[in-house]
C-alpha cells in the first residue's frame, strides 16, 4: 500500500484499531483475498477458492443461500416481534392487533416474519429437490443429505409452532386440526396430543408450549443443524460437481 494520500478510507483503515480487527489489506490481490476469508470468523466457513461449477446459477439456483438468508430475516424480525408479544390467551391477540396498528413498523415486521416463514418452507423444499435431482447426496455427502432432510422437517415444525401464536381463528383451528391428526395415532396418539397441548384442548398451556418451542427449542436445534450442515459442506469438498463422477467408486453395479 502506498502512503501518499490522506483520504477518508486511509484515515479509517491506517490505524492500530482497524489493523487489530482486520489483519489484511484491502482484498485487491489474491493473497489479501485469501486472508480476507481465512481471517474472518464470518467468512472462514468458505474455502479460499471455489469450483467455478459451484457458482453456476443453473446448478444451485442459490437455494441454499436463500434459505439461510430467510432464516436470518426470521431470527431478526422474530426477536423484534418478541418485544411486543406476550404468549397468554388474554393478551396474545391484542398484542398482534397493537403490532398492526400502534407499533412503529409493527405491521411491516410482522408481515416480513410471516411471508419469510412461508417462503422458507418453499425454498428449503426446492433446495432439497435440487440436491436430489443433481445427485448431490452421493458419497461423501450422504450424512449431510440426512441433516438436510432433518432441516426441512425442523423448518416445517418452526413454521407450525409459530402458526398458533397470533391466537386467531386461523391459528386455533389449524392447530386443532393438526393435533387431532396426532391424537388419532394408535396407542401413543392421545398422550402425544396432550403433551403438545398441555391439556385436552388448545388453550393457555398450548400457547405457552408452542411459544417455548418456537422461540427457544426449535431455533437452537435449527442453528446447530445449520452449523453442522455448513461445516460438512466444506469437509465434504464443497458442492457436488460432475468432476467427481467415477465409474467404479463402489462395486455397486
Amino acid at each position: 500500500m502506498t502512503t501518499k494520500n490522506h483520504s477518508v478510507a486511509d484515515i479509517i483503515t491506517r490505524n492500530r484499531v482497524w489493523r487489530s480487527i482486520f489483519r489484511q489489506g484491502y482484498p485487491a490481490d489474491d493473497e489479501n483475498r485469501a486472508r480476507a476469508i481465512m481471517n474472518s470468523w464470518f467468512l472462514h466457513i468458505h474455502p479460499v477458492k471455489v469450483k467455478l461449477h459451484s457458482l453456476k446459477l443453473t446448478y444451485t439456483w442459490g437455494l441454499g443461500v436463500i434459505s439461510f438468508v430467510l432464516f436470518l430475516i426470521l431470527v431478526v424480525t422474530g426477536a423484534w416481534l418478541m418485544f411486543f408479544y406476550v404468549p397468554s390467551v388474554q393478551s396474545a391477540y391484542t398484542d398482534i392487533q397493537n403490532l398492526d396498528t400502534a407499533v412503529t413498523f409493527g405491521a411491516l415486521m410482522r408481515s416480513l416474519h410471516r411471508w419469510s416463514a412461508h417462503l422458507m418452507v418453499v425454498v428449503v423444499f426446492l433446495h432439497l429437490c435440487r440436491v436430489f435431482f443433481t445427485g448431490g447426496y452421493k458419497r461423501p455427502r450422504e450424512f449431510n443429505w440426512v441433516i438436510g432432510v432433518l432441516l426441512w422437517v425442523v423448518t416445517m415444525l418452526l413454521s407450525f409452532t409459530g402458526y398458533l401464536l397470533p391466537w386467531d381463528q386461523l391459528s386455533y383451528w389449524a392447530i386443532t386440526v393438526s393435533t387431532n391428526i396426532v391424537g388419532a395415532f394408535p396407542l401413543i396418539g392421545e398422550a402425544l396430543r396432550q403433551l403438545l397441548l398441555g391439556a385436552a384442548e388448545a388453550g393457555p398451556p398450548a400457547l405457552v408450549r408452542f411459544y417455548a418451542l418456537h422461540i427457544a427449542v426449535l431455533p437452537v436445534v435449527m442453528t446447530i443443524l445449520i452449523g453442522i450442515h455448513f461445516w460438512r459442506i466444506r469437509k465434504d469438498g464443497g458442492l457436488s460437481s460432475p468432476s467427481e463422477a467415477s465409474e467404479n467408486e463402489y462395486g455397486d453395479r
Binding site: 436430489f132 435431482f133 445427485g135 452421493k138 413454521s159 386440526v177 388419532a184 457436488s240 460432475p242
Partner: protein, 253 residues
C-alpha cells in the same frame, strides 16, 4: 499452487509418432487425481462467491420487503373454540396430509405415510451409492424422461383418485368394517400404484439412481398436487369446489 504440469506449448493429445511402437488401443472412463481439479477450475471466493451470496441476500430482502409492504400478514377474529371454522384447514404445507386424511385412517395418513417418506428420503444416499453421474441434473436423458413420465403418471392417477373418492366415494361401496376403507383399500391402491410405477420404470433399464428419480418425482408430484388441491379446491366440509367458489376465509393464509 504448482501442479507438476509441464510448461511446454499445447500439443496434440495423441500425436502420431513414427518412432513409437505402441498406439492408442482404447479409451476408458476414469479420472486421475488431478483431472478437472486443477487451479484453473477454481476462482477466489472473494469476490466471486461472496458477491453472489450478497446478491442473493439483497434480492431476497428486497423482494420480501416490497411484498410485505404491500401485502399485510393476515389476522382473523379472536380464537373462539365455540365457532368452528368451515373448512378448518391445517397450515398449507400440511394440507397434503390433511388431504390423505380424507381418504384413509388418520394413523396411516398422519403418521405412517409421512414417517415412511422421511425415513426413505434419509435412506436415499445409502440406496444409490454409485458415483457415476454426480452433479448432473436428472443423471441422464433417460433420467429426465423417467422424471417427466413419473410426474405425468402420478398427476393423472392423483386427479382420478381424488375425483373418485369425492363423487363415487370408496365408503359408499365398502363402509364396513372400518379396516377396509381405512386401511386395506388405501394401502392396496397406493402400494399398487407405486409398484406399478416401479415396474414400468424398470422397463427402461434404468440405473439405481434413475429408479430413485422416478420414485422421488412421484413423491414431489404428490406433495405438490395434494397441497394445491388442499389450498384451492377444498371448500365447506372439505368438499371439492372451484377456487372461485371457495367460501370466504377458506384460504389457509
Amino acid at each position: 499452487m504448482e501442479t507438476g504440469k509441464t510448461r511446454e506449448p499445447i500439443q496434440e493429445v495423441f500425436p502420431r509418432d513414427p518412432s513409437r511402437t505402441y498406439g492408442l488401443m482404447e479409451l476408458v472412463r476414469g479420472t486421475s487425481p488431478m483431472v478437472d481439479k486443477g487451479p484453473e477450475d477454481t476462482v477466489m471466493s472473494w469476490p466471486n462467491l461472496l458477491v453472489l451470496e450478497l446478491l442473493a441476500a439483497l434480492g431476497t430482502s428486497v423482494v420480501l420487503l416490497l411484498w410485505s409492504a404491500f401485502v399485510k400478514a393476515p389476522l382473523r377474529e379472536l380464537a373462539n373454540p365455540n365457532v368452528t371454522e368451515n373448512p378448518a384447514k391445517a397450515a398449507w404445507y400440511f394440507l397434503s396430509l390433511q388431504e390423505l386424511l380424507l381418504h384413509m385412517h388418520p394413523a396411516l395418513a398422519g403418521l405412517i405415510i409421512p414417517g415412511l417418506v422421511i425415513v426413505l428420503l434419509m435412506a436415499v444416499p445409502y440406496i444409490d451409492r454409485s458415483k457415476k453421474d454426480v452433479g448432473i441434473w436428472f443423471a441422464s436423458k433417460k433420467g429426465r424422461l423417467i422424471a417427466v413420465g413419473s410426474a405425468v403418471y402420478t398427476f393423472i392417477w392423483l386427479l382420478g383418485l381424488v375425483l373418485f373418492d369425492e363423487f363415487v366415494r370408496v365408503r359408499s361401496i365398502v363402509a364396513e368394517p372400518e379396516l377396509w376403507p381405512g386401511w386395506v383399500i388405501p394401502i392396496i391402491v397406493v402400494g399398487g400404484l407405486i409398484i406399478l410405477l416401479y415396474v414400468v420404470i424398470r422397463r427402461w433399464r434404468p440405473s439405481r439412481r434413475e429408479v430413485l428419480i422416478g420414485l422421488f418425482t412421484a413423491f414431489v408430484t404428490t406433495y405438490f398436487t395434494l397441497t394445491i388441491v388442499g389450498i384451492f379446491f377444498r371448500g365447506m366440509g372439505m368438499h371439492l369446489v372451484w377456487p372461485w367458489d371457495l367460501p370466504p376465509g377458506a384460504l389457509p393464509f
